[in-house]
Amino acid sequence: MSDTHIEAAELSARFLDIHESQIVFRLLLDALSQPGKIFHLPAELVVRIPVVEIPLLGLLGYDTPFALIGADTSREQLIARATSGRITDSTTAGYLGVCDSRTELLPMGFCLGTPMRPDTAAQVSVQVSGIFTAATKSTATLHISGPGVESVNHVGCDGTTTGELEFLLRRDWTAPRGLDMWIIGVDGSFIGIPRTSRITTGPSWNKGVS
């Protein structure tokens, strides 16, 4: 198949129609307003699009600055064409997809906003190799509290090494600056972590998660 042929099919797959984008938005909104509760991206989208790109494809609009870190630039081009978003670098992007969560850029290397304009901080979609599972206090990988959480949400992440989630412990900003994130497993299960969440680790942290 020629390059144009492959590209057309890959481009077409990345268009979210108006109902798909609405459904994705509501899930992303729920996830950030209930940090640590596990949500699932629609299966129809997960089978046709790399999961890390789904939030970008659902949210980006004309000229929205974005970047995809850790993937071939051709994928960035596809996202730009599907959404009219503008490819930019990691420090000025408003929305980012991070394919490998072990990148040093996470979490302090992106735009964290300013005290005057905290809403200019980046919102980041991070892919991990495992899948999220509901957990109890004793089995949890992460303990999440703060706005949106009644007391503590316990989250397990099967199949992900703790190294992949290490970046969550390096969050070091002064409110109201900070990074907001969706962390997405390969099956489309995901959690939202707004900048205000407090995160501690659970008993299985040092042993790695399997």
């Binding site: 798909e20 129809e44 949210l59």
Partner: protein, 293 residues
């Protein structure tokens, strides 16, 4: 219609690629506008109480009449939602009816007066008496989003005060109010501190409704169309009305009055002027359920 039942309408030909975004309309606004509002809402939820500027579009309702609340609802609404719209607690208020039909006519979704059937509740100046939870989004219409408006008019100074959490002059003005009048005279729209960081304008909801925002089970979104800002209070977030240690926060008292229709004193009551025993529940759907129970 869910994703499973809806046909996949992504474009598969060049012609469809070109015409993709401009063909189908749902919920009045074009897709670009909706996405812009959605991005603003996502930031709002992550910075509780901070007023996020957004490119507010002109709506079929006038500025000051709910254009912001409507934009938030239209950006959120999906085919499976059911919407309740109230004004002063009344589903039948003419402006509520107008807003509700704009939503349903442009989406085809169900409308309801019952909180437990609704998923999106757009309201002007009341929080419904019924309990809401994580299946609800409360969308409040905001006439004036700036809680510090009474003490400062300069926009640049207001931005500085919020960015530095310098709210000292607000406290001083409340103190002076108490000293001058014997009570804090703020009626509705009581200023509150959200997540210990931003003071917000709670919109002209009565003090009666303020405690419902604190550690709520539901998400509250605020839409100010004219002033072009949105803000949010996530569930389980601290919302503290500004007051002093020795001055407890007071909700409205009706001096023991009860609703002449359902007999309750457990809801926010409104009166007919000058008539005795004329009180009734402002939340008409709640009142009707008490009567039918």
């Amino acid at each position: 219609m869910t994703l499973e039942t809806a046909p996949h309408t992504s474009p598969t030909t060049i012609a469809q690629l070109v015409g993709h975004r401009t063909t189908e309309t749902f919920a009045l606004l074009d897709e670009e506008s909706k996405r812009e509002i959605r991005r603003a809402l996502l930031h709002a939820v992550c910075i509780p109480g901070y007023q996020v500027p957004f490119g507010s579009r002109e709506m079929p309702v006038a500025r000051g009449w709910g254009s912001g609340g409507l934009q938030v609802t239209l950006a959120c609404v999906g085919a499976d939602d059911a919407v309740k719209v109230i004004d002063q607690g009344d589903d039948e208020g003419v402006n509520a009816v107008n807003l509700r039909r704009l939503v349903t006519m442009s989406t085809g979704i169900d409308e309801t007066t019952e909180v437990d059937e609704a998923t999106l509740i757009q309201s002007r100046h009341r929080i419904p008496e019924d309990d809401m939870n994580e299946n609800h989004i409360l969308i409040l219409q905001v006439p004036v989003p700036e809680p510090l408006r009474g003490i400062e008019r300069d926009i640049r100074e207001l931005a500085r005060m919020h960015s530095e959490a310098d709210y000292s002059r607000m406290w001083v003005s409340l103190y002076e109010d108490k000293v001058r009048n014997g009570v804090i005279t703020q009626s509705t729209g009581y200023p509150c501190l959200v997540a210990s960081r931003y003071i917000v304008a709670t919109t002209p909801i009565p003090r009666w409704d303020i405690p419902r925002l604190h550690q709520s089970k539901f998400l509250t979104l605020f839409g100010a169309g004219r002033e072009k800002r949105v803000y949010a209070i996530p569930p389980y977030t601290d919302v503290e009305p500004l007051t002093f240690e020795d001055v407890p926060f007071e909700v409205e008292s009706a001096d023991g009055a009860t609703c002449r229709l359902c007999g309750s004193s457990e809801s926010f009551l409104v009166e007919m002027p000058g008539k005795q025993e004329s009180w009734s529940c402002s939340d008409t759907a709640w009142c009707r359920r008490q009567r039918n129970a």
